[in-house]
Symmetry: C2
Subunit: 297 residues, 2 copies
């Protein structure tokens, strides 16, 4: 069977079943990052790889520094979503022999800019020939205090669901300029008990069910509450993907405090309560008439 | 300027100049692996990425398990070349939607086999769509005792140069079935002071000058001493690449002991002294009449 018919989640589930896994692997395939460390270690290591492919994640005509920025920031966003901070990156680039040196330098300019901004050391990688589209793969390590490591799987029924920023519109260019919510995630895990968190890479419609499923919960959200990028319909906010905002759960007892402190700390970045985790299987409460809800069907 | 005109080493040199690098980065871009750790840490971490591209490193018709085996073993070979052992791998695969699930399962069968053989935990990765050839990138962490960490750069003039196994013939299929010299490298660094080591991935003609240059030395080798795979000419032994044998330097005082103990420990794997590191710039002693020597010109 072709993998296009199966869908990404099903493909990954089959491939990663029963992978060889040693001790000290706290979390293997299936979350934003892998987590490595001893049960009693104060700090755990995070491992992440992420790739961008020409024609899929960026167009050939885009400015190279924006492509480099995006490539590294995607991985930084996953480290942030675990509550951690990034450390060391390795860059693998496969390109045609006909690529201009200036293009590659542009890619690296974007990579360097993102690395400086988020405290990443670029410690190596590989440059290979490819007869096809350009391919950039980032391997990134990070660290997180054991007590602040957040997975997708700790949410409980009754927890409130929040998203940062505004969703949708990535295709109009936002996907090349987004800022990973590293500072925000560190602040969240430093000031609150965050039971479940992830970054929104495939769109809320695809990602929220993953968080709910990992937490053994269903969810209820109201379409009209979803914070939208100016000019975007709900369908775009749900389905465009590549928002790289944070989606997280919070215990009801923390909600008031969180909302007040957030406004004081990040006055320019909206924080929106979009719904709750519920008991039982995944379902969406149909308060909204927006067609975007079909994504959840 | 097109990168094909510049060549890989020049491209990498330009891209990696002045990369952002934090403290505890013992070794950044330029060796087989990056090395991370405190000056006094007993164990350092090794980081490596390596990719294989359809049409460059393997043909579409190859059996998928052999491709998976090769993809992971290439990275294991780099960890071995630093004197370390591999720990955790992340697998990034970009393929067309039309790829069959059976093909991907075959790739993972090869990856799993290599992981079990060399004690690697596969802890995650990513599967992405690609409109072009299949692309498999491996990110691999490893560890090495600080005292046994071997770079390319510690050789001194007068050191003897050795290679394991036989060189050449990778294109006839060996490149899909090779066994990384992990046990051999661990034994070497456990029993001898190895000043410089690397794995042979681009062929002796390309790789030996890199080791010599990193060590600030020249070299002399005798073409007729180079151990060749059965049926291979010297040119192939020098230039085919993808041998994944070890090339290393040894102090003259250790040579006799090394050769004796090696024969007892690894009776089936040849260990060959091919020449020496010399003072000054890179040059090759022209003892051989084989045309392969043109590679060094």
């Amino acid at each position: 069977m072709k993998i296009g018919t199966l869908g990404e989640d099903a493909v990954v589930a089959v491939l990663t079943r029963g992978l060889p896994c040693g001790k000290n692997v706290r979390l293997g395939a299936g979350d934003d990052c892998a987590v490595i460390g001893g049960v009693r270690d104060r700090v755990w290591q995070l491992l992440k790889t992420d790739c961008v492919v020409e024609g899929v994640h960026f167009l050939a005509k885009e400015k190279p520094p924006r492509i480099g920025w995006k490539a590294l920031c995607r991985a930084v966003s996953d480290i942030a979503a675990m509550g951690g901070w990034p450390k060391h990156a390795l860059i693998t680039i496969a390109v045609s022999r006909d690529v201009k040196m200036a293009w590659l330098r542009g890619i690296y300019a974007g990579l360097r800019k993102a690395a400086r901004r988020f405290g990443v050391s670029i410690v190596g990688g590989e440059t290979s020939r490819s007869p096809g589209p350009a391919f950039i793969s980032i391997a990134l390590t990070g660290e997180v205090e054991r007590a602040r490591c957040v997975t997708r799987g700790g949410g409980r029924a009754g927890d409130f669901l929040f998203v940062t920023g505004r969703l949708g519109g990535s295709r109009a260019g936002k996907h090349l300029d987004f800022v990973p919510r590293l500072a925000e995630a560190r602040w969240l895990t430093g000031n609150f008990q965050i039971p479940a968190m992830m970054d929104l890479s495939d769109g809320l419609a695809a990602d929220l069910p993953r968080l709910a499923k990992a937490s053994g919960c269903g969810f209820e959200i109201a379409g009209d509450k979803i914070p939208r990028t100016r000019g975007c319909m709900v369908a775009q906010a749900l389905g465009d993907g590549e928002d790289f905002e944070l989606l997280f759960a919070v215990s009801p007892s923390d909600v008031q405090s969180l909302e007040g402190k957030w406004r004081a700390k990040f006055p320019k970045l909206p924080l929106t309560q979009i719904g709750t985790l519920t008991r039982g299987a995944v379902r969406a409460k149909r308060k909204s008439k927006h067609r975007g809800y079909d994504h959840f069907a």
